[in-house]
């Protein structure tokens, strides 16, 4: 597992961010390298964890992380399905997990944009094999060609992909 490049006050919170990132990879279906790249200049994982904390969902996030850590060896899909299992999970954990998904996919909390980096980094654009509207790093004429395959955008395309 990659160690994230984050500047945080205490080692304990660094571990929490690391675990949050690993859980987010499984929950979103994107690779850990996408969620927490080696050189992470935008550090969305810390921003999203902080946003969840600020909105009073610290405990729910920690319970989700604890569940995630207990599922070693499971595929991302199995983990995501378990974390979001409406038949077994309490409603507050389902809600918190969905809030985390919304942040990663759209860069929003309840519809409000978390930051410009969050908007640009929304995984929905990657899932569309595209780029954020208003933020293209591609070159003139790219639109006349097929995009690279979905896996190149960080999606764990094999449904049973092992985590980690």
């Amino acid at each position: 597992m990659n160690s994230p490049v984050v500047q945080l006050a205490t080692p304990a919170s660094a571990t929490r961010v690391t675990n949050f990132a690993a859980m987010s990879a499984a929950l979103t279906g994107f690779s850990l390298e996408t969620i927490s790249p080696d050189l992470d200049v935008t550090d969305l994982k810390s921003a999203y964890l902080q946003t969840a904390d600020q909105n009073g969902e610290s405990q729910e996030v920690d319970r989700l992380i604890a569940q995630f850590l207990s599922m070693k060896g499971k595929t991302s899909q199995e983990i995501a399905d378990a974390l979001l299992d409406t038949g077994k999970q309490p409603a507050d954990l389902i809600a918190a997990a969905r809030h985390i998904l919304e942040m990663w996919y759209l860069g929003t909390w309840n519809g409000a944009v978390v930051s410009s980096n969050a908007y640009i980094g929304g995984l929905a654009w990657q899932a569309a094999q595209a780029h954020a509207m208003g933020y293209s790093e591609w070159e003139f004429g790219y639109w006349a060609q097929d995009p690279p395959p979905l896996a190149d955008f960080g999606v764990q395309v094999s449904n049973g992909a092992k985590r980690g």
């Binding site: 995501a80 996919y105 759209l106 929905a124 899932a127 595209a130 509207m133 003139f140």
Partner: protein, 623 residues
């Protein structure tokens, strides 16, 4: 009072005002530009930040003021935020008419918006740079519709020369050879040997799919075919600006200024050394002398957008005056300038100021390509091709014509995607009507899946990569009753009355609407695509109406047209073919407000073309 004596005082720094300022400044004339809004920023970072952070990414999302408080803003303007609250003057700058009773479409909110900032509304134009065709200028003579006042007082050959100047100023990449099929189809003409200033922009995969799939579709004896759209986005470095990188964000803002905007021309004007701009300066009245000539522009400055403090009233003077504040603000100022000498307002002998307000009525439809056949939208410029082949034909004696713009932004315009579809699959909702898929007109039923993990990414990938949409720009008939007046009850933050709107559609326009719907559905069917257009959920919204029992809603195209139409008859029109007032020897009134009819092309290229005619007319007048 400003003691500086200018050759020309221009009100507004958008496309028209900037072209006139640059042309006259280049000719050594002294020009003062009075701009209501804030100065053009040194770079567009601040506007980009506004755009990124705004949760409603409407055309206005990048531009100040970011509040929605027209009674207390220095330069409030029509916004999408205001339109959503069209019946609430606390949020809507425009005082909109009450909605008519369904199914009637005779009273509806005017749905296009504009900006009041340095550089004007074209900060967020799409870039589309289509020419009118000869028959567009003669709707009465050729098709017997509207009235003789709807024929333009300008011939196509004159306009063609002006278009060449406009295409050079804006920087329009296109190929005359690629446009050639539109000659026999709708009468599009170029001067022999003419070439656009840049090579064309390639079509997207979405365009290619519509082009191939729609082959064989015929509407009112006219074949449907797709052509690349000439547009003001660089295909090569031009005017020291970059090449388009396909940010898919022409509206609200091109992040790299590969798309032309009037700040380019305004910079050219300022570089002449003969042009001065007074920012944050709102014109409040055109003053007249005993002979009826304009003698000055009264204006006030302001300090901050919200709850502004007004500066003392000033007067700017010049030999000539140009009103270039866009159709609604132009009308507002002319009507505000009433005096005992001109009780109907300035330039309003004809009683046509504010009348014949038009927009391209936009019918939007959307579909998914067949499974396994993605077209990869959300890439490239917002629109790169369209169906122009239905813009002219004998049918125009019976119903409105339209052009069809192919969108490259998936269902972003249609339903606010990617957000709506993504939220559906996260929260287990069905706002998009694709979770699970629901046929148009059917109740949405029980929502489908709430997903996570790779299954979520794959579901989103499947939907988003197959989305596309068609937008029909329908020619609205000019109607005297569709008009801008002043509402003295409601004022802005400077105490000025706000525009009051009357607006609706006549039978000719609605017949075009119905045809547009049928054409789009026929194209989707021919492509094997699945249509999802559904307006039944919008019942109760002010933009909702019905035709023959079918649910419709319309959008504004952002094209504010009419309000000071041009013509040869001074009793029935406001300006002449050079946009000079019939009533005042030293006043020109510019922009799409001068169009007697709107035809089907997006108006900016024609606004620029007419601005070159006005600049030439001003130069002769100043000799």
């Amino acid at each position: 009072m400003d003691n500086g004596q200018f050759d020309v005082v221009v009100i507004g720094s958008g496309l028209s005002g900037s072209i006139v300022a640059a042309e006259l400044g280049s000719a050594g004339k002294k020009v003062l530009v009075i701009e209501a809004g804030p100065a053009v920023p040194d770079n567009r970072g601040e506007y980009m930040q506004n755009f990124y952070m705004n949760s409603l990414k409407a055309p206005e999302s990048a531009y100040p003021p970011l509040t929605l408080d027209p009674a207390n803003e220095a330069t409030p303007r029509a916004t999408i935020g205001g339109l959503i609250n069209s019946q609430n003057p606390a949020k809507s700058y425009l005082i909109q008419p009450p909605p008519s009773k369904i199914p009637n479409a005779s009273s509806l909110p005017f749905s296009s918006t504009y900006e009041r900032v340095g550089g004007g509304t074209m900060w967020h134009w799409l870039g589309t740079s289509l020419r009118l065709v000869p028959n567009d200028l003669q709707m009465y003579t050729k098709y017997g519709v509207f009235s003789s006042d709807a024929d333009w007082p300008i011939g196509y050959d004159t306009l063609s020369g002006l278009y060449e100047k406009a295409e050079s100023e804006i920087g329009v990449p296109a190929s005359v050879a690629e446009q050639a099929p539109l000659g026999p189809a709708i009468g599009l003409k170029y001067r022999p040997g003419y070439q656009y200033p840049m090579n064309p922009i390639p079509m997207t995969l979405v365009d290619e799919a519509v082009s191939k799939g729609s082959e064989g579709v015929v509407v009112d004896s006219k074949p449907v075919f797709v052509t690349p759209t000439p547009a003001g986005r660089n295909s090569q470095p031009y005017q020291s600006r970059r090449v388009c990188a396909g940010n898919t964000n022409c509206i609200p803002i091109c992040p790299i200024q590969a798309k032309y905007d009037p700040t380019v021309t305004l910079a050219r004007a300022l570089n002449t050394g003969n042009v001065t701009v007074s920012w944050q300066s709102v014109a409040t009245k055109l003053l007249t002398d005993a002979s009826g000539k304009i003698s000055g522009v009264q204006y006030v400055t302001w300090d901050k957008e919200l709850n502004p403090t007004k500066g003392a009233a000033k007067i700017a003077q010049g030999a000539m005056y140009v009103l270039a504040a866009h159709a609604i603000e132009n009308s507002k100022l002319l009507l505000l300038s009433k005096s005992p000498q001109f009780p109907n307002g300035v330039a309003n002998f004809s009683d046509q100021v504010g009348r014949n307000l038009m927009d391209h009525v936009l019918y939007l439809s959307w579909a998914l390509t067949p499974e396994g056949q993605p077209v990869y939208p959300y890439r490239g410029p917002l629109a790169t091709a369209g169906i122009e082949s239905l813009r002219d034909g004998a049918f125009r004696s019976q119903r409105a014509a339209y052009r069809i713009e192919i969108g490259n932004e998936g269902w972003n315009f249609a339903i606010g995607d990617p957000n709506t579809t993504v939220l559906d699959f996260i929260y287990g909702k069905n706002e998009s009507r694709t979770n699970p898929p629901v046929a148009p007109g059917q109740p949405a039923g029980k929502p489908g899946l709430a997903l996570g993990g790779p299954a979520l990414a794959m579901a989103i990938n499947d939907r988003l990569t197959r989305q596309f949409r068609l937008g029909c720009l329908i020619e609205q008939a000019p109607q005297a009753s569709n008009c801008v007046t002043l509402d003295e009850k409601y004022t802005d933050g400077l105490g000025l009355p706000r525009p009051k709107i009357n607006y609706g559609f006549d039978a000719y326009t609605l017949a075009g609407f119905k045809s547009a719907r049928q054409t789009c559905s026929a194209v989707y069917k021919a492509m094997g695509a699945t249509e999802f257009t559904d307006y039944s959920g919008r019942k109760g919204s002010p933009s909702y109406f019905e035709i023959d029992g079918e649910a419709y809603a319309f959008f504004g195209a952002g094209h504010i047209i009419g309000t000071h139409r041009m013509g040869n008859n001074k009793k029935h029109s406001v300006v002449d073919a050079n946009q000079k007032s019939h009533d005042h020897a030293n006043l020109w009134i510019m922009g799409s407000g001068s169009f007697p009819t709107e035809a089907t092309p997006n108006p900016s290229l024609t606004i620029a073309a007419l601005a070159f005619a006005t600049a030439a007319d001003l130069k002769s007048a100043l000799k």
